[in-house]
Symmetry: C2
Subunit: 225 residues, 2 copies
């Protein structure tokens, strides 16, 4: 039997998953958040996640999964690797943690099944996927089938941001009434600075460009007679 | 570019994965074994795995993944759960560790990619699947696609035992020249006793019935003029 009132949101405390948390709250009456601690350089992420979940009045579980950080050499969890933020040819950048979304969503599925929850929400987006193969729509759909077969359970993976660019994600946050919260309290920056961040890492650049584009289009709309 | 000489075998030291290890050795020149420690009641499994890998002259990695044992309540990793070995209606038995093969094979894939290995071998079998959904052929095939999409890498999952029953698995071991080794040194028993085991748990029963069937058919063949 399907439980259509509950949803589990894979939640990092960043712009995207915070927007997804409120998106889920607008559609499901019983929302929970699941956050992973996997050896990120910036444990501040976990703090942010807890504080935002509290504001959303949503229960949050923080799971310790050091395994994921230890699996492949990457610059997000390994201080000996210098962050190489540009894509090189067809290779993903070295901020790619191999299989990260595969493990996050698989663990979320086991947890959801335990809680009797069928709906799982994740903030992945193919539009701004920066060369990470595990942000693509085909991967998510294939994984959805695999999870259902693995556990003989009807999971439904929701990806509200899949085809939105960053400007449209700002627009969605605004329409959900959390523009200010996302702007000031979420942590997206690779250098661990909340809100507008360091301003020069690729995550900050992407976020700021989207913000400027959204504010510009909003101004345009407001100016119309 | 494909590496067709290397294979990584998901290896527990039991009858099935030991047979797979030699199967892999007969087909690939560069075989490695990967064993998981995830809070099994019987750490003797790991000892067995190491000793058999040494005899196979195959390198072995033992990875500690307590996460998997902690995910769902099950009787294999939780001493407070009494082992309920029969399938109840359409529910899998409580020896089912939710998502176990999903995590084992996903971790194996990340590891294989790091080692530049495309071929992964697992001993899952749909024939004797005892109600575990993650032993079915459709699950494995779906997972193969998911893994390839997740990491943009060409993995090939091999399941030499998928359609064999236990008697046929004994026959395969015999044809690979390891009948005695499998019979005396592998550990399949839920109660942690190597070789013929405790004799009364479901794993021992399945193993013995297969052995008797195989020996009988072999005797029949030998008696023919």
């Amino acid at each position: 039997m399907m439980n259509n009132s509950g949803a589990l949101v894979v939640f990092s405390g960043g712009q995207d998953s915070t927007t997804c948390l409120w998106w889920a709250k607008s559609r499901f009456s019983d929302v929970r958040a699941l956050t992973f601690s996997y050896g990120q350089k910036h444990l501040k992420e976990i703090e942010c996640a807890r504080s935002i979940a509290a504001k959303a009045e949503v229960g949050i579980d923080v799971m310790d999964v050091p395994l994921i950080g230890s699996l492949g050499k990457n610059s997000l969890t390994d201080n000996t690797v210098r962050m190489d933020t540009e894509q090189r040819g067809t290779e993903p950048p070295n901020t790619f943690v191999p299989g990260r979304n595969l493990f996050f969503l698989s663990i979320a599925a086991v947890r959801a099944r335990e809680l009797g929850i069928n709906h799982i929400v994740t903030g992945v987006s193919q539009t701004d996927f920066s060369g990470y193969p595990d942000c693509r729509d085909t991967f998510i759909k294939s994984l959805n089938v695999t999870l259902n077969l693995a556990m003989d359970f009807q999971f439904v993976l929701h990806t509200p941001l899949m085809w939105l660019d960053k400007a449209e994600t700002w627009e969605l946050a605004d329409s959900l009434g959390i523009f200010g919260l996302v702007r000031n309290e979420t942590l997206t920056c690779y250098n661990g600075i909340p809100g507008d961040g360091c301003g020069h890492c690729p995550a900050c650049r992407l976020r700021r460009e989207g913000l400027e584009k959204y504010l510009e289009s909003k101004r345009g709309t407001l100016l119309k007679p």
